[in-house]
């Protein structure tokens, strides 16, 4: 029975064994989750944000828990491009999931430089452009909320990325996400990734200060799921569907049911973030759960499900 279900997906021209990714910043650089789960069971994998030079990141506390969510302000802490190539690429070469490198930087040049250095690496399927991280002073979200800048950075990185898939990760902290999505697609994005985290703050009422050293952080986890589902559906209807652009949906996914919600809303694939911290094997479980759902619903190809909400 199960064999009859095809949950492999075409994602911007490449074939993924299944539509489940782990999200940037929640699964390390390569096989760090291997002690806990079969990373080769994943359809896709996205590295922690990589910048040209190593970054120390913010002071601590860098996280705080909220109702059904958490704030993080890691601040792009990462080993930098050189060490990534030296230490992590060899491991990535052995991974069967499609690996996307999440690229970040403080200037368009820095973004482009990272992509250019990696554009020739066979082990990498593509890039996820992080123009939406709310936790860094420069770069990040300033790019992600202005359509003109999104156009510029997307075109620049597209050139640098050569044949690789360019996925642009959108910020939800905007009035109309479709405007930004359209700008990205028209500037060359092959896929869209949404959502990144929501800018937020927790105050410790005993000290009278923000809990996070960075003061604000990005809200992720189940709390944001209904907003993320709405935004995925909106971008699917207004931008992605007609242009044949796949969406990687994320925000609070923890179960196969959550994943199916995003797929019905219009996501070709989904990314699991915060949930990896609680249940490091959950992405692999979600793959199984999606299969079971399809069997139960007599869906033979997951394509039938994608965007099947058909509203708007």
């Amino acid at each position: 029975m199960e064999e009859a279900v095809d949950i492999s997906v075409d994602f911007a021209g490449i074939r993924l064994a299944n539509p489940v990714f782990t999200a940037s910043g929640t699964c390390g650089y390569a096989d760090e989750l291997a002690d806990f789960t079969d990373v080769n069971a994943l359809g896709g994998f996205i590295t922690k944000s990589i910048t040209l030079k190593p970054k120390k990141g913010n002071a601590t506390p860098r996280i705080v828990e909220t109702d059904s969510g958490m704030l993080n302000a890691i601040g792009w802490a990462n080993i930098g491009l050189d060490k990534f190539i030296e230490e992590k690429l060899p491991i990535i070469e052995k991974m069967s999931a499609a690996v996307f490198v999440n690229v970040a930087g403080e200037s368009i040049d820095e973004y482009a430089a990272v992509a250019e250095h990696l554009a020739g690496e066979a082990a990498i399927a593509g890039f996820e452009l992080n123009i939406s991280c709310p936790n860094v002073a420069k770069g990040g979200i300033t790019f992600g909320t202005d359509a003109v800048q999104v156009t510029e950075i997307t075109s620049a990185v597209k050139k640098a990325a050569g044949e690789k898939i360019l996925m642009v990760k959108l910020s939800p902290n905007v009035t109309d996400i479709s405007v930004i999505a359209r700008a990205a697609v028209e500037a060359g994005a092959d896929a869209l990734s949404l959502v990144n985290t929501f800018t937020a703050m927790v105050i410790d009422i005993e000290t009278g200060k923000p809990v996070l050293a960075n003061k604000t952080g990005g809200l992720s986890g189940p709390a944001i799921k209904p907003i993320a589902v709405y935004l995925v559906n909106k971008v699917y209807n207004e931008v992605a569907k007609n242009r044949g652009i796949p969406i990687l949906g994320s925000g609070g996914i923890r179960t196969a049911s959550d994943a199916v919600e995003f797929i019905i809303a219009g996501a070709t694939a989904v990314a699991v973030g915060t949930a990896n911290f609680i249940e490091p094997g959950c992405a692999a479980k979600i793959v199984e759960g999606i299969k079971k759902y399809c069997v139960r619903k007599k869906i033979t190809n997951i394509k039938e499900l994608t965007g099947s909400l058909g509203i708007g």
């Binding site: 860098r62 996280i63 958490m70 890691i74 189940p222 915060t274 609680i278």
Partner: protein, 316 residues
């Protein structure tokens, strides 16, 4: 520093509660048993290693049992696992039994109090690197603040069992007598020798007690007690080692004392942790880079939680 090598099975495992004993106003000792793979993984638990407990679905106590200062916090639903270290490990009949000493400070530890024999809890671990014993040490000085006693009790046991050449003595501090996380009575032996805290005494380790308010033992911070003791004993140098666990301000003070007297010192650090397994980068500890004024962030969960005191850059 022995690194926790990959490819080890670190769970998630289900552990079964065997007891959850209240040992002070807000202190408890949770005893858990692992079988099969979990037992194997935890059998070699080192003092100072920790685990991540999923307490999200553990029920709250009835509202009458929630202390007033935690009523609002108790409303928060838990999402993330919580890190705890261990005060004891026993391997018996293919089972591994571990103890956690914990203090009730928020929604997760409040929920923890409702666990009772037979319940089970989902655990990832053992995680991080524990305390280690460098060659040539003759005397180990265990300095604990509040709940920090847990991993140092475990360490006392291991020192006694596996390191016969080392004599250990404990310095246990808390705000008040009531907040000392020990069960037994405080039997004063002599002003010099301090107390016979049953928990340390059973490993042949004498202990000195300090309370901020003077309600038991030395009146003042345990670091003052420790420092005075070092002064009286006129001790310093390379055959000693200090192990400490407690609030960060206390650890900073211990590090200072250790540096002044040139004694090796290991500290167990705490950070807010999302994953505990090295993937989220939330638990950064600022560390000095050898021979440079630069600093790097190491991960408390993977590179620690036990660090060489010389490495740490304390924030305040």
């Amino acid at each position: 520093m022995a690194k926790n090598h990959s490819a080890a099975n670190r769970g998630p495992f289900n552990a079964v509660i065997s007891a959850n004993k209240q040992i002070g106003q807000r202190f408890y000792r949770l005893s858990l048993g692992f079988e099969s793979a979990g037992a194997k993984a935890f059998a070699k638990l080192k003092p100072g290693q920790f685990a991540q407990l999923d307490l999200a679905d553990t029920p709250l106590p009835p509202s009458k049992d929630i202390p007033e200062d935690l009523v609002d916090a108790a409303r928060r639903k838990i999402l993330l696992r919580r890190p705890f270290s261990f005060s004891d490990v026993i391997n018996k009949d293919r089972k591994t039994l571990v103890d956690i000493l914990y203090r009730v400070v928020g929604p997760a530890t409040l929920r923890m109090t409702t666990l009772s024999a037979g319940d089970s809890v989902n655990i990832i671990g053992p995680l991080g690197n524990g305390f280690w014993v460098p060659r040539g040490k003759k005397q180990a000085l265990l300095v604990t603040g509040g709940m920090g006693a847990g991993p140092l009790l475990h360490l006392a046991k291991v020192l006694t069992a596996d390191h016969h050449g080392i004599e250990a003595i404990a310095f246990a501090g808390a705000k008040t007598e009531k907040e000392l996380p020990f069960e037994g009575q405080l039997d004063e032996i002599s002003q010099e020798l301090g107390f016979s805290l049953a928990e340390f005494a059973r490993y042949g380790v004498e202990s000195l007690v300090a309370t901020d308010d003077g309600s038991a033992g030395f009146a003042g911070p345990v670091t003052d007690c420790f420092s005075e003791w070092l002064g009286r004993a006129g001790l310093a140098g390379k055959d000693m080692i200090i192990y400490s666990c407690g609030p960060e301000q206390m650890l900073a003070k211990v590090a200072e004392i250790a540096e002044k007297r040139n004694i090796d010192c290991q500290l167990s650090m705490e950070r807010m942790m999302a994953c505990g397994i090295g993937i989220c980068q939330s638990c950064a500890v600022e560390c000095k880079v050898n021979g440079s004024s630069e600093t790097v962030y190491k991960m408390c969960c993977e590179d620690g939680p036990v660090f060489d005191a010389k490495e740490i850059v304390f924030s305040s």
